[in-house]
Structures are given as structure tokens and as C-alpha cells.
């Protein structure tokens, strides 16, 4: 038997390592100077899917929507153990906000076929919206469980999931298929497997194969694609033409989110107040903190 899982992953700029040059004068981030990395929570989501495969069988597909170079994270998914990978990429998808992204993702998932689980990280470190997972579930018309910490059990096409809530947790039951977004410490992602790193290091997307043909006139794209497919080194590539999409709902056109203003907030202290280290002093300090809504 076994379960089929689809994992939504994203390549993000490494915002944890922002140095001086990366911040522009206007307070925005120069992405080209930041290394692109695998969004950590998505790696956790993949691990959850792989653990279901370890325990129950089935298979795991990963999908990313992004520019051609996002294929890096797909290869990393293959290194960890994903069975196959899909890159959804087209210039017409560029500039998509969460609404347009979830629209394209949901249509791509319909094309890929049936599934039992969709896993995604809670949110990506570049936008921090936590919206793409839930919106995708809405568009597919399936239930969703967010902030998952643990899969408690899977039985008779039902899953029990422990979900984090403020001050504690709750355990929810859902029928399958279901979309689950996971927290960063839900499970510890497995390392890349040495043999898979060597086997899949040359896995390529359609765009990457096209690049090879540009550099060598003796290569033909169809032939090359067939060759890579037969060696299980082809990363499935989905473009606008492969999906029946409403152009108005894709990319910038389909994105109502507009960035109004970006502000670089720098917190600085400008005065200090001496408080005596005694009972009265501490009382005064607590009162002030309550006033500022830091306490209470």
C-alpha cells in the first residue's frame, strides 16, 4: 500500500547571514549578493514525508515554483531521498505573491495526479507570510492542518496530527488527502545520502538541458531529454504551456499584494534611567514595563 506525498519547497535568500553590503541604502535587500538556500522548514517538511515513506511505503515528490536556478533545491531533495522532482518555472510566473503562487501550484498539483499528503514548511524565511500552504489547500478543496509538530498515527485513510497552539498543543484528525504545514523543529532533516549525491548530481531540468544544447550544436533537446529520462536524471519541468491557466491570475498580474513602503527600522537607546537595586526600585521598574506593555 503506502502513501503518496507531495512536498512544496522553496529556494530562499540566506537572510540569516546578512552582511553590510547586502543591505541597500533604501533598506531593501540585494538578493543577488545573498547565497540561495533551501528554506529550512521545507526541508523539515520533506523529512516528514520521507518518514511516512520509511514507515508505510509509498513515494515522495517535491515541487518548487521559482526561477530556473531553483533546481538546486530540487537536487538537494533528491539527495535526501525524494523519488521525483518538479520545477514549475516560467517568466510569466515572475513577481507572484502568495495568491498567484498558490493558484499555479494547485493547478500543477492537479496535473501531477492524486496524492494523500501535501507537506510544506510553515513559512519561508524571505516573506514570512505562512500563506502559500493554506491557500493551496483552499484551492484544491482539501483540509489543512498548520503548525504541525508530529504525525501521531495514520490509519484507515485518516491521520492524527499534533499541532502547536499558543500555550500548548492540540491533536487533530483529518481524512486524506490533507495539506500539512510543519514547524521547524518537528523532525530533524536527514543528511544528504552519499550515494544519492553522486547519482543525482547531474539531474537536470528542461532549462538546464536547453542550456547544454545552446553550447553544443550537435545536441538535440528531445534526444537529450529522453536520454536523461532513461537515466532517471530528468527533473520534470512545468511551464505556462503545460498548464491550463488563466493568465490574469499568474505572476504580477495575478498578485494583488503591493509593497507600499519599506522601512529600515534601527532600534537605538537615547536615554537611560537609573533604578536603585532595592524593593522600591524593582516596583518602579515593573510599573514602567507594564505601562509600556512589555509586561502584562
Amino acid at each position: 500500500m503506502g502513501y503518496k506525498s507531495i512536498v512544496l519547497v522553496k529556494q530562499v535568500p540566506d537572510t540569516a547571514n546578512i552582511s553590510g553590503q547586502v543591505m541597500k541604502e533604501d533598506g531593501t535587500v540585494n538578493r543577488s549578493l545573498l547565497p540561495a538556500i533551501f528554506n529550512h522548514e521545507d526541508r523539515v517538511a520533506l523529512e516528514m514525508a520521507l518518514q511516512i515513506q520509511d514507515n508505510h511505503g509509498g513515494n515522495v515528490s517535491v515541487i518548487t515554483m521559482g526561477p530556473p536556478r531553483a533546481s538546486d533545491v530540487l537536487r538537494e531533495c533528491l539527495f535526501m531521498g525524494a523519488d521525483d522532482a518538479y520545477l514549475i518555472s516560467d517568466r510569466k510566473f515572475a513577481g507572484a505573491d502568495t495568491l498567484a503562487t498558490s493558484y499555479v501550484l494547485s493547478e500543477a498539483i492537479k496535473k501531477i495526479g492524486s496524492f494523500d499528503f501535501i507537506f510544506a514548511g510553515r513559512q519561508a524565511i524571505d516573506g514570512d507570510t505562512a500563506q502559500v500552504g493554506p491557500q493551496t489547500a483552499e484551492k484544491l478543496g482539501i483540509p489543512q492542518i498548520t503548525y504541525a509538530q508530529e504525525i501521531v498515527s495514520i490509519n484507515n485513510n485518516k491521520v492524527l496530527i499534533k499541532k502547536k497552539i499558543e500555550g500548548g498543543y492540540e491533536i487533530l484528525e483529518s481524512p486524506l488527502p490533507v495539506l500539512v504545514t510543519v514547524l521547524k523543529d518537528a523532525v530533524f532533516p536527514r543528511p544528504y545520502k552519499a550515494k544519492r549525491v553522486m547519482a543525482y548530481k547531474n539531474a537536470k531540468t528542461l532549462m538546464e538541458l536547453e542550456k547544454l544544447t545552446e553550447d553544443n550544436s550537435l545536441l538535440y533537446i528531445d534526444q537529450l531529454k529522453y536520454e536523461y529520462m532513461s537515466k532517471h536524471l530528468y527533473i520534470n519541468t512545468i511551464t505556462m504551456d503545460d498548464l491550463k491557466l488563466d493568465v490574469e491570475r499568474c505572476g504580477v498580474a495575478g498578485s494583488p499584494t503591493k509593497v507600499h513602503k519599506i522601512e529600515s527600522v534601527v532600534l537605538t537607546g537615547n536615554k537611560h534611567e537609573h533604578i536603585e537595586p532595592n524593593k522600591i526600585g524593582i516596583g518602579t521598574l515593573i510599573d514602567k514595563l507594564m505601562e509600556d506593555h512589555i509586561f502584562g
Binding site: R190, P191, Y192, A194, M198, K201, H232
Partner: protein
Amino acid sequence: MPNFFTDNSDLLYQFNRLDLDEIVRLTEDNFNQAKDFNYAPINYEDALENYKNILEVVGDIAGNFIAPRAASVDDDGASFSEGKVKYAKGTKESLDLLSKAELMGMILPREYGGLNFPTTIYMMAVEIISRADASLMNIFGLQDIGKTIAQFANEELKSEYLPHFASGNYTGAMALTEPDAGSDLQAVKLTAYQDENGKWFLRGVKRFITNGNGEALLVLARTEAGTKDARGLSMLVCYGDETVKVRRIEHKLGIHGSPTCELQFNDTPAQLVGERRFGLLKYVLYLMNRARVGIGAQSLGISQAAYEEALKYAKAREQFGKPISQLSVVTNILVDMRVTLEANRSLFYQTCQWLDRKEKYDEQLDKLKAEKKSLSEINDKLKEATKVVTFLTPLTKYLLSESANKITYDALQIHGGTGYMKEFSVERLFRDARITNIYEGTSQMQIVAASGGAINDVLCEYLDEWEKKEYKGNLSHLLSHLQNIRQIFYDCLKYLKDKKDKSFQDIAAKDIVEIYGSLYIGYLLLQEANSDNRKIFTARRFILDAVAKAMKNQETIKSELYSDVLHADTILV
């Protein structure tokens, strides 16, 4: 997100200089394995890319997973209760992760689940792991045990044990040392006997067995009753089952994560590896030589970690209004540490490549023999590689382990009083380093092993060749220094030969080996400097220092300083 491979510029430098073409071709059987395994390389470039990718995985795990656990592993240590050995939590977690990453069978053949890497690449991984946690190396670095089985055991044993080593299910131990057989392994007493069906059993005690709690044990045992020397010893493999009792584990100065066990074998069922009577003469020699190279990697990893700690601290610590790294006496110590480190690494990866060559030629010889083909060419190559590696292995173990002690000592010194406290990792590195020049053969044993090669001038051809080469700019000046060292070497050698005093020669072997070793390393660095400007500094400091040391050693020998050992009874009151 430190990656202990990609952040180490000198290791990358040595990786890029590797000359593995022939080794890889032999290891990969002319790339025929690519037909059967999708992860086998299709050509040399592909193999190098694989090695680099995998070392990056190792570097990532070492930097981000293992290193952050090293302090707690040192604190917790391996523990022993109710007859069972338990790894420290961090040790267990790291081993699990390395197993999941498929890194526990790097040098085993692919048909048993291994990666079939050359030893040189595996040693780079061992260096990287040792830098993160020296004690973990004692378990990760035991892959040579599987390799020994792969090399000498029959097919049945290989299929029985190797897949478990490769998956990380089994860890191993090499059970050689006994209470009365340490450096002198010929004295091993543990008995192996056969029942009426020819089955082997082990009975006796082994001591100081690293990871003696392992699932599979390679045991050196006396199979020939009544014998007293090496020719009565054989190699057997057994499971660490209930008949193998761990009597205690040692409380040690360092490498706390590595359990050192005393084992009692109570009629333990065992199987013979290879042929009887060749236990010490062939199989242990093979295993020990590899293990010695492994300790070289461990020493290098510890030294790298200590250097990094010292540099970081010296840049951050301010005294007299500036960072202490800018005080010239401190700068000088740091330069010394760095140059030693780079010189050692250069020597180390040469030794590894010679070891790879020797072993591959050995395998090739067996293959050609079976095919009844001409052996003369491979015989010559094997002879040469054996000669070189027989000298370089003990030399490397000696120099690198002594350096690890010196570098961690200096690193602690740079930290001042703070370094003596437990807060900084340099204190742990200092303790961990101390075993490297003791186990797998003490420095004194390494000198004995290397002295033959030095006395016979085994590197003569290479030195001649390098002497004749053209060197750019001021490097010709360094060349003349090296020529000078060579003359000093021959002068000392002649003095010792003329003197014909065995005990004097034994003591002076250290001086001779050091001069000859520095000559070889000096030339390696000169080649590097000839193609890389930064390395001119490394070569210069190393060679000028080597001249001074050679002159000192020469003076020590010729002044008859050692003659007073004849009067030891009077001196040692």
C-alpha cells in the same frame, strides 16, 4: 553554517593538487563499475567531482552537527555500567547521522554497500571529522577494519560482515593489545583453539581496546599452541556477543567519547581471516599501517582546530591597546603553527597517495597473476611504492602526532590563563592530542620503523630529481639550503656508520629521521612555492628552520652527547 571542508583553504589546496589519476583508474577498474552502479564515476573528472561533493557533505556534518556536540561528548564521555558500554549522547547522535549519510563504508567495495573511495579521500574525511571531535574519529576511523576483512577474508565472511559495516549497523574494534603485549605484539597470548569440527574459539584477555564494545571484533590470537613468536599468531573475526565480556573501560586524559575497553573472551566462536600464522606478519601489519595513517589524519584535524581557536582568540583578545595577534612574539607563534600545519598536510597527503598506490599495485599484481600476464612492470612499481610508503608512514605518524602536541600546547599558551580553564575548547584539544603520539605505535617505535628508510636513503632518486629542477626567483636560494641539509644528512650518516655502535645509532635514529624527513617535506614545499606565491612564505620558514634544526642534530651526534647513556646507572639515582 561552517563547512569544515570548504572553509579550510589549505585542505582544498591539497585536494586540488591530488594526483589520483592512476589510483582512481585502478580503484574503478577502468570505470567499468558505472554500468552496475548509478553512483559510480564514468571518468576521472567525474570521480573527482564525486569526492568533492561527498567531502562537502562530510564538512557540513562535521561543522554543523559534530563540532557543536564535542564539548558535551568530552564532559559526558563513554560510560560503563552493568557490563555494558554506552556512548555519550553526542557520539551516538553523530554516528547515527553519519550512518544515514552513508559515510561509514567509504573505502569498502560497492558490492557490499560501500563507496569504493581511495584511501586518500577517506583520510580527508577522517581529518575533517577529527577537527570537529577527535574522539569520534576513533569510531568513524575504524573503517579500516572492514577494509581488512574486504582485503583478506573469504567471500562468505565478506558477505556476512561488510554490508553491516557499510550501513553503520556494526562498528568494529581491532583487538591486538594485551597486558603484556603492547609495543611488542609478538608476545600476544590470547588463545584460539578448534573443536573437533574445526570451529574456532577464543579465550583470553585484551586490554586498551578502542571501541571494544563494537559489534564485530578483529582479534589477534595464538592459533599455534606452543609457539612464542609472530609466526604462531593468526587473525580471527568474531561478534561482540555475550561471550565477550567488557570488564571495564578506562578513565582517560582525553578522547573521552571513545570507549577504551578491557575484554575477556570466554570461548567466543570466531572465524579465521585469511591464512593461519599470517596474523601479525601480514594482516595486522596491513591494518596497523592504515591505522597509523589514520592517526596522522586525527593529529592534523586536532592541530587545525587548535590553530583556528588560537587565531580567533588572538585576534579578539586585546592587551596593551591592541589585539595580541599583533604583538610580534604572538604573531611569530601563530606563523610557526600555521607553517607546521601546512607542511604536515603536504606530507600527509603524499603519504596517503603512496599508500593508495602501494595497495592498488598489490591488487593489480594478484589480478595479473591470475590472468597469467607479465608481472615485471607492476612488480617494479609495487617495489618502489612499498619502499617509499614504508618510510613515509611511520615518519608521518611521528611528525604529525608530535606536532599536534606542540600546536595544541602553543594554542593553549596563546589563550593564557583562560586556556587552562574549561570554558575554551583548547584545553580539550590539548588533552585529546596527547594520545596521538602514543597509540598505534609510540613515537619511539615510529622512529625505529622509519630509520631504515632514512639510513638507506630511499628517497634518493626523488631528491636528485628535485635538486635538478629550475626554481623561480629567490627559491633557488632555498634550494641551496636544502642541498646543505642533504650534505649534513650524509655527514651524520657516515659518522654513525663509522662509529659502529648499535646503542648510539638507536638513540641518534631520531636525529637522522628528522633531518631526512625535513628534507623531503622541504622539497614538497619548494614545489608548491614554485607554482603558488603564498606558499613561498611557508617554504621559506620551514626550510630555514629545518637548516637550523639539522645543524643542531648534526652537532648533537658529532659531539658524542649521547655517550653518557653508558653511565646511566650513575646518572639515574
